[in-house]
C-alpha cells in the first residue's frame, strides 16, 4: 500500500478546486478522529484505523498525505459513512478540523522538528488551543506528558488525558501559559507561577506491553516495538473509545499492525537484512535510541539528509545523545554524512562514512541484522532503494 501518496493528493486537490466546501460535506454525519503531533502521527493513525476496522469499514489517509487534499481523498473513498481515522499535519489542523467536526482530536506532542522554522512549538500549541472554541462537541485526547499539549487541550470543552510519554523535555522548559520556568520531576510537571500542571491521566502507558485504563492494568501485545509505540497505542485506544470502541477490541486489532509506511520494517538493503527506523528530530531520536537499547547491540547505519522537508539546519544532531551508540559498529551515509561524522567524533564513537546506504550496508562485517536510522527524506530514499516504493511523492512544504 506504499507509494500511493501522490495519487492521494491529486484527487483531493481537484475536488477542492471544483468545490471548496467538499470537506465539510464529506465529513457530515460520520464519526471521525484526527491525529496530530510532531512525532508518531502516522503510526498512531495506523493503530487507530486498525482499532476502528474491528467494528466496521474505515476511511483513513494511511499514506501520510496529511494536508487538506489528502484528507479529502481519504473521506471520498467509499463507503460513504465509514468511521474515519485521519492524520492531520499539526499546522493544518486549525484549517481542517472545523470542517471535519471530529468526535475526537488526538494531540500527541509538539517538539522542535525543523530548526529553520521559528517559535514553532508555542505557536502550534496556541493555534490548537484556539481551535477548541470552534469545536464545542469535540473531545481532546491529549498527552499529559507534554505541557504544550495540555495547555492546548484546555482550550477544548472536554478532555481525555493520556500519559503517552515524552522523553524529550527541552521544547517545554517554560510554561506555555505564562512563560515561567516549569518545575519537573519524574511523572510530573507544574508551573510555580500560574498553576498549570500535569493533569491526572485516565489512560497510562506503563510499559511496552502494559497500559492502564481507569486504574485497571491491561497486557497488550503489539508487533510494533518499544514503549514509544505503546504510548501511540494508548492514544489510539483512548481515541477509539470516544468513537465507541472498547479498549479490549481496540488493542486486539492493533496487535496485527506490523509496520507503518516502512517504519520498523525489515528489508534487504544491499546484501544485508536491515530494520528501518525513522528518526527525524531529537525527540524521535531519543525514542529510537531507547528502542535500539531494548535489543542486543546491532550495527547501526545512520542515513542523513538535511533537505527542506528535514529542515536544512542539522544542528539538532548535537541535542541527541549519540554517545549512547558507543561500543556499536557505526556507519554513516547521506548528503550530510559529514555533519554526523563530526558529531560522532566528539561523542567518542568511531564511524565509517560511505557514499551511499547500500555500499554502507554491504561494508558492515558479520551477519547480524543492522538497524538503519534515517531522517525523513533519507527514509523515503531507503524505501525507494529497497524497492518498497516505486516513486517519491512530493515533499511537504
Amino acid at each position: 500500500m506504499l507509494g500511493r501518496g501522490s495519487g492521494e493528493v491529486i484527487g483531493g486537490k481537484v475536488a477542492l478546486q471544483l468545490h471548496p466546501g467538499v470537506l465539510a460535506e464529506l465529513a457530515a454525519g460520520r464519526d471521525i478522529a484526527t491525529v496530530s503531533g510532531t512525532n508518531g502521527k502516522t503510526t498512531t493513525t495506523r493503530l487507530l484505523a486498525a482499532a476502528l476496522a474491528a467494528v466496521g469499514p474505515v476511511a483513513t489517509n494511511g499514506g501520510g498525505a496529511n494536508m487538506t487534499p489528502g484528507v479529502v481523498t481519504a473521506l471520498a473513498a467509499p463507503p460513504r459513512f465509514a468511521r474515519a481515522a485521519i492524520e492531520v499535519d499539526e499546522i493544518y489542523l486549525p484549517q481542517v478540523a472545523p470542517a471535519l467536526r471530529p468526535a475526537a482530536v488526538l494531540l500527541l506532542n509538539v517538539t522542535r522538528d525543523q530548526l529553520d522554522r521559528s517559535n514553532e512549538t508555542r505557536r502550534i500549541a496556541g493555534m490548537w488551543r484556539s481551535l477548541g472554541a470552534q469545536l464545542p462537541d469535540t473531545v481532546a485526547v491529549a498527552n499529559v506528558d507534554d505541557p504544550l499539549v495540555v495547555w492546548a487541550a484546555l482550550g477544548f470543552a472536554r478532555q481525555v488525558w493520556v500519559a503517552a510519554g515524552q522523553r524529550w523535555e527541552l521544547d517545554a522548559a517554560v510554561c506555555p501559559a505564562c512563560a515561567a520556568l516549569l518545575q519537573r520531576g519524574p511523572g510530573r510537571w507544574a508551573c510555580p507561577s500560574c498553576g498549570l500542571a500535569r493533569p491526572e491521566p485516565s489512560v497510562v502507558t506503563a510499559a511496552a506491553d502494559r497500559i492502564e485504563i481507569d486504574g485497571r492494568s491491561r497486557r497488550i501485545r503489539l508487533r510494533l516495538p518499544g514503549v514509544v509505540n505503546a504510548g501511540n497505542a494508548a492514544m489510539a485506544a483512548a481515541g477509539a473509545r470516544v468513537l465507541g470502541i472498547d479498549p479490549a477490541t481496540a488493542f486486539a486489532a492493533m496487535g496485527a499492525v506490523r509496520d507503518v509506511q516502512g517504519r520498523y520494517r525489515e528489508v534487504m538493503l544491499g546484501d544485508r537484512s536491515a530494520r528501518l527506523l525513522l528518526a527525524k528530530n531529537p525527540a524521535g531520536w531519543l525514542e529510537m535510541l531507547e528502542l535500539l537499547e531494548a535489543t542486543e547491540p546491532r550495527p547501526v547505519l545512520i542515513h542523513f539528509h538535511a533537505r527542506v522537508a528535514d529542515g536544512r539546519d542539522p544542528s539538532w544532531l548535537w541535542d541527541v545523545p549519540l554517545e549512547r551508540l558507543g561500543g556499536r559498529d557505526v556507519h554513516v551515509s547521506g548528503e550530510r554524512a559529514e555533519d554526523v561524522a563530526v558529531r560522532l567524533a566528539y561523542a567518542g564513537v568511531p564511524c565509517t562514512v560511505h557514499r551511499d546506504p547500500v555500499a554502507a550496508a554491504n561494508a558492515v562485517g558479520g551477519a547480524d541484522m543492522i538497524d538503519v536510522l534515517a531522517t525523513y527524506t533519507a527514509f523515503r530514499e531507503l524505501l525507494l532503494v529497497t524497492g518498497e516504493i516505486t516513486e517519491i511523492e512530493e515533499e511537504p512544504a
Binding site: 521559528s118 527541552l170 522548559a173
Partner: protein, 257 residues
C-alpha cells in the same frame, strides 16, 4: 587559569538557550581541551540559577523569544563582566549575542534590557533570515572562513569602536547596515575586554563543530600555555578530518571558499 585545575566551561541556561543545538559548543571545547592535556568540565547552569563567577568559559546559545527574555534576566543579575575582566572567555550565539548587548526585542516588539557586557543593540527586523552564513573573520584572529547557519530576525548594531567578528561572505549576519572597508556586512562581535575575550556570532551549526579553529582560539585565549595537541592523537585526527571534509562540503554547497 592555573594549569593544574580543570578548565570550567559554563553552559548557561541550556533549557532556555539550547534551541539550536548550540550546547554542542560545550562538548567540543571540553573534548579539545582534554585532548591537549588540559582536563575540562562542562558546568551546566540550569535556568533560575545565578551565574557562577568562577568559570573560565561562558557559553550562551540560541533560543526563542520568551525563553530569551527569561535568560537575559538571569544573565543581568550575574557578574559576567567581572568574570571577563578577570580573564574569562564568552562565546555568545544568536539569542546569546543579543542577550550580552544592551537591548533586544521580545515577542511583541517590546524591548528588553540585555546584560550590557558589550556595546551592541538589536532591533526587530523583517524578514527573518534563515540560511547559510559564511564569515570572513577579521585578520587579527588568524582564523580561516567560518561556516554555519543563521536563523534570526534581529538586526544588531555595534556601538562606536566595537569590532565585528568578521565580514559576511554569504548570508546576512548582523544585518543593520554596518559595513567593513571591503563593503562586507558586519557579522557578530569581537571584543577583547580586560584580560578576557568576548566573541559573539549568529553562526549556528554549532559554530565550533564546523570551525574547530575558533574552538582552539577560545581555548588558547583562556589558557595561553595550553600544550600543543599531539597531531597523531586518534581522537583529534577523527574530529579534524571529519571537520575538514565537512568544511569542504560546505564550501562546495555555499560556493564560498
Amino acid at each position: 587559569m592555573s594549569a593544574t585545575s580543570a578548565l570550567r566551561i559554563a553552559l548557561i541556561y541550556p533549557e532556555l538557550l539550547g534551541t539550536y543545538g548550540d550546547g554542542g559548543n560545550a562538548l567540543i571545547l571540553q573534548a579539545r581541551s582534554d585532548w591537549r592535556g588540559q582536563p575540562a568540565e562542562v558546568v551546566p547552569v540550569p535556568a533560575g540559577q545565578p551565574l557562577p563567577s568562577d568559570c573560565d568559559v561562558y557559553l550562551l546559545g540560541g533560543g526563542e523569544d520568551e525563553p530569551q527574555a527569561l535568560a537575559a534576566a538571569g544573565v543581568r543579575s550575574g557578574d559576567l563582566a567581572g568574570a571577563v575582566a578577570g580573564g574569562a572567555v564568552v562565546l555568545a550565539v544568536c539569542a546569546g549575542l543579543q542577550v550580552i548587548g544592551t537591548r533586544f526585542p521580545g515577542t511583541d516588539g517590546h524591548l528588553h534590557d540585555g546584560a550590557g557586557l558589550v556595546d551592541l543593540d538589536t532591533a526587530p527586523g523583517t524578514p527573518r533570515v534563515v540560511g547559510d552564513l559564511v564569515v570572513q573573520p577579521r585578520p587579527e584572529t588568524g582564523l580561516p572562513l567560518l561556516y554555519g547557519y543563521e536563523n534570526h530576525s534581529g538586526r544588531t548594531t555595534l556601538g562606536e569602536g566595537v569590532c565585528a567578528l568578521g565580514g559576511v561572505r554569504r548570508g546576512l549576519g548582523n544585518g543593520a547596515g554596518q559595513r567593513d572597508e571591503r563593503g562586507r556586512g558586519y557579522e557578530g562581535v569581537w571584543a577583547p575586554t580586560g584580560r578576557g575575550l568576548v566573541v559573539g556570532s549568529y553562526l549556528h551549526g554549532p559554530v565550533l563543530a564546523q570551525n574547530p579553529h575558533l574552538a582552539d582560539l577560545l581555548l588558547e585565549a583562556v589558557c595561553p600555555d595550553l600544550p600543543v595537541a599531539d597531531p597523531h592523537d586518534p581522537r583529534l585526527v577523527r574530529a579534524d578530518s571529519a571537520a575538514a571534509t565537512l568544511r569542504a562540503a560546505r564550501a562546495r554547497q555555499t560556493r564560498v571558499r
